[in-house]
Symmetry: C5
Subunit: 350 residues, 5 copies
């Protein structure tokens, strides 16, 4: 289950608390500044040095990896006039994706998703501050899904370097969204595999798998669905930070999100229908088992009664001394058995 | 399951990748130009030749079959100033139907549907670019659902040739939508057939069929539902590309889409209710089987006990030596059996 | 299932195809013209004669019964400038109720409902064209639900003859809507009857009935629900064809539609809950059957073992020769049986 | 089930038909006129006398009990210029609560609810006409939920007599709404009682009760839900009949309606979950019964086979003559029984 | 179940009735007045004294604990011109959270939640009146979730004392909302624990727990969901009481509410899916039990018949006297048993 971080009730609003498992670790800082003609990419040790290096005339992309140190981010926040509540959201990971508008600045929270080795889903919060000449990205863990973006910027391919910070923010969001596709494809393959087996052999293990699929789909849906609104609000942006030229790209990204939601919905429908299949298939099996039991019992229990009858030790049982007694009783039992079997045939149970 | 094509995460936006299974195949090009007085229909080898043949004063319908060659479409895109992201959507088949508005151009994505020999549904993406004097249609595979439209244009019947490119686009969309009707009718017939059998004989095979119906309905719904929005947006078009005279036709097409959705909903309700019927019918059968088992067992098990009783070898069992012992015990057993049967009669189990 | 008529894919838009089962039959024509002072009611043979008889200064109600002849309706359409797509909808029966606005004319499609002798629901499409001085009604079959309206017009009772064509259209729609009430009442009675029986005796026949109820309710809902929108749109009419004075009547009709939908919803809830009742009641019965089986088996199987024990032929079984062996074993068996029965009593199974 | 009265299809709009069970009975009439300084309360025999007694300068509250006489209400309607369709709704009881706006007059329909001795819910329609200086209330049966209101008016407590007819209408609506609370409380208590018992002992009687709860909740919901809209429309009244000063009271009444709907929803959730509990609890019991049957059968059936084996009459069975044959076989059977029991222990079935 | 207090039907609007269990107890009064430079915190005995101590130039926070005395609150209401209906809502605890706008005053009702020792949820109504220079909070019981707020005010940390009454109201609402988090975390932990056990061992105790989880989630949802609307309406406040500077804080609080609702939804999905798991897991167990019964019965019942056969006492049964009769019959029985077991193996039941 995705964990939601929250403050102890009673804490003052906008209190910053570092991630407990990272407390004390210095975050990794990286500054990329570029315009159409130049590109600088530096890893920088201290926040002061970084803030000095920001070049006002270029697009500055500041990336912070790690939430262990409150001070660094407070300084960053002061320099770029970030609202304390936005900073609080950066530290309280597990937020729903959302967009907050502040004066001259947009604050975007997204959830990136990875699949761990054991197949478990891991979510990581990405916080993005978009200003006129800068983009600040803050991640929980040192990850590297942005390497292709840096490469494109470095090589100056496409129109990436000719555009402004809003386009950079778009490429970052797009990168976060595109991660969902391979994950969904893998999930879709597993689901398709399961479909065949379910009707034949409904085991407890499969029940567990269906349950896990549903949990995973619900988690993914909760992480991606609000992203839709983030993009819709970027598209009808009123802050002037998003250029008209960038909007078709955002619209395209929105289409991707809708496609992901669409796929998730269709997977959810299928797994819901799996649960029905499972139960029906199990009922069918129980029905078959009962049928076998009933047929065997109904054929042999009356016969056992008959043989018991002539096993009685009464002094005076004429049949026992009749010459054809034994073969007659055998024939009678055969008739009873055949009658029973015909009854079941007619009932369509055989 | 409808496959969704997506780029490897990290690919630059608007990258064009040919369909892998068609990679290298040259797409088939066809240009139809017409006005009220003339009609030209040519299959053309190269894209350059085609672009030279476009006549500005007529309605030009360019049809491209096949997505194996990026270069052809890039040239087409440059000539008609198509946005790179729209071209990307053309290649990334499996898109949800949608409409994007660009300056002087509308980009429409639709899903056509066919039924394969084995009954499986196949979806094919149709991309339509609608401009002032041209319509560009791009299909995945060489298909021919447009032949009746070409014929009507060639013969100049109706008012098709007197109208502009928006009416042509309408006839194309209408053709794609109308394909759903015979498919739905076939599906409806299968469903009606099943209804009767389900109550009588709930087999595992039928469970599988219900599941497949539901999957098919869900797929069709996902393909047709967003078409509704495409048409709604064409109807309140602000680009000036859609003439008032064409709108009643689009409205009619929208009515068809709504009728299809309506039918799909009603089929979905029925198949959902089939699942209930299946489970109830199965429970009913299990109940009947249990009843037979219980009646047979309850009648004969006590009798078997009695005969076992007098099969004991105790030295001193007075009944065994009583003259009427045997007939008496037979009468007692008859009474027990009749008592049991009357009990079940009263319980309404017989 | 309500059948939806559609054109073979590839047919030109607005193609008129007569109903196959009526092809060639001449439709029955009837013209009623009236104003406050006069009333004329004629059955007319040919469409030309009818069009000649239309009196511009009065309200003209043209009724056409039967969809076998395309030519008649084409002439009617030309005379009253009916859009070809509207005429197409007249012939493609099974349309969802809807309202299309054309210049100086409203086109309304409704579904009337009848119950056949065997209880099956039959839907019939009624197409209404409402213009300034005329109302045209086109029905599939010669029916007569409008006789009370004609009678009221003929006798000049109420304010019917003082009002215009819009009021006539209202009375027609109202007549179509009011047909649903007796049908719903009959349905409601059947449902109430069923309720009692279901808990006592869940048979397969009742399962079929529940299923048929649900289908009927779904069909009725699909036919009446869109009528709501037709009336809402008539109420905020912008064509000027609907007078303010008529609106309270339309509002009243809308209230009737809402009451019908309300009833349908409540019936649907009840039948859904019937399905639950059915399954629960069946489970309860299976449970009871199992209980009887278990009690009988559990009491007698151990006893049968004991009597079998002393039916063994071992040479040396001391109990067999003990004087009180037989009575002792009888007592033991009694104790076992009583023990078992007390166990079941404590479990509350008896 | 709440009965819906409707006209035979074909009846002219706005036809008034008295309630069949009251036909011919004269309705009871009562006129209360008051202002800040005076209060008159009279029961009056005839409608003409009543209309003469209306005092234009005061607030007049006319209450009519009984729908057996059309003439009385027609005269009332003519005097206060009531629309014939509104009068029709008064007679066609079982209407959904709704509000119709007429010139200078609001027409409100509400459903009051009572609980009969046997616990059955009875709904009664209350029709309210609100004009500038008058309120007319029309009820199906002589009831007396308005006595506290009359008393407050008579005693002149609170600000009731200082306010106008809209405040009087509010107190009437409020009285009708407040009746739902004690009913809901009783229902809630029954539900809470049931909760405990359901897990322990799922009987058929409880199934019936759950079903009845759900029906009752659905009926209450259908009666109270549209009241929400009536109040909302009163709050944004455009007729000028509702004073600003009265609105906080109406808002409060709306809050009550929302609280009732809220409670109904929560009860519905609980009863739905009861159905699940019932089925699960029943499955659990069936499972337990099966377990007992399986354990008893599985332990004794193999033993019975063994004792049967040595009950055979073969001439040459060496074991029978072995000295320790009998004790050995007893030991073997003990071992089998213990083995079986241990198997069930390990399976956690014991 | 959360209890809803309501008046006996017929009570005059805005009647104040003390909480029966607190009737006669004097409420505890506390007045805190502060501005940027000063801070006074007093517990005051009588309401008159308190009203005298209110300082118009500062922010005054009046807290009332206990609803046993009507007079105190009536005086408070008169002094701050509180609408009688708002006061009525204060006493009728169990209200849905809502916001009412009065002239110069906002009235907010919230539900605080605690968990009792036994794990039961307890809701307490908090009523807040927000005016220009004052905030009045009224609670049912003496609680202390506001101590951290008082401490922050006392110590003058943060910007709390520099802001106005609207910010104080925000901190109070925030405190009430933040209480939900630890509760939800505990609930989430219990749910996660259960997940594992459910598949392995579906007991009746777990069924009860699932049911209790669902009830608790439904109660929490009903208490927190309307809080969303309270905050939304505060954000688009038109009374001028909420400063722009406070809005980002309210937006943050709204984000918390959304996160809580989000979590509740996800828990609800999981518990719903638990119910499915429970039933499926139970079916699986019943299926397994049936399998054991069927296998044991089907193997031994035919064998028991055979041994019974040769236990018959017919005078003339040749097999009994055949030398190899006994070993032959043993072999036959072995063959039957093996055949049966192979049949079950092939059916995959073993």
């Amino acid at each position: 289950m995705r964990k939601f971080r929250y403050h102890t009730p009673g804490t003052a609003p906008a209190t910053l608390v570092p991630l407990p498992e990272q407390a004390g670790c210095t975050p990794k800082l990286r500054l990329i500044s570029y315009d159409a003609h130049s590109f600088h990419d530096r890893e920088i040790e201290t926040i002061d040095e970084l803030l000095d290096s920001v070049e006002g005339s270029k697009v500055n992309w500041i990336n912070v990896d790690g939430l262990g140190d409150v001070e660094t981010l407070r300084k960053l926040g002061e320099h770029f006039r970030i609202h304390p509540l936005a900073l609080e959201d950066v530290f309280n990971t597990g937020q729903r994706p959302h967009l907050d508008e502040y004066e001259d600045q947009l604050f975007i929270v997204l959830q990136m998703v990875y699949q761990e080795e054991k197949g478990e889903l891991v979510f990581e919060q990405m916080s993005v501050f978009l200003g006129d000449r800068y983009v600040i990205t803050i991640q929980e863990d040192p990850g590297d899904i942005f390497e292709p973006i840096r490469k494109r910027l470095r090589e100056g391919r496409g129109n990436a370097r000719f555009m402004r910070s809003d386009y950079l923010a778009y490429t970052l969001i797009d990168a976060a969204v595109d991660q969902y596709f391979p994950l969904l494809e893998a999930l879709g393959d597993s689901i398709e595999c399961m479909e065949e087996e379910l009707l034949e052999d409904p085991t407890r293990e499969k029940l567990r798998q269906i349950h896990e699929f549903r949990q995973a789909l619900a988690q993914l849906r909760r992480a991606i669905w609000p992203t839709r609104e983030v993009l819709t609000r970027l598209l009808r942006d009123e802050s002037g930070l998003v250029a008209e030229k960038t909007k078709p790209f955002l619209r395209d990204c929105l289409d991707h999100v809708l496609a992901i939601v669409d796929l998730l919905e269709s997977y959810r429908d299928i797994t819901t229908s799996f649960m029905d299949l499972y139960v029906s298939s199990l009922s069918m099996r129980t029905n078959e088992i009962m049928r076998v039991l009933t047929i065997v019992s109904s054929v042999f229990i009356p016969l056992t009664f008959i043989v018991g009858l002539y096993g009685m030790n009464f002094a005076d049982m004429p049949e026992l001394h009749w010459k054809f007694g034994y073969p007659a009783i055998l024939l009678i039992m055969l008739a009873v058995a055949i009658g029973m079997i015909m009854f079941f045939k007619r009932k369509n149970w055989l």
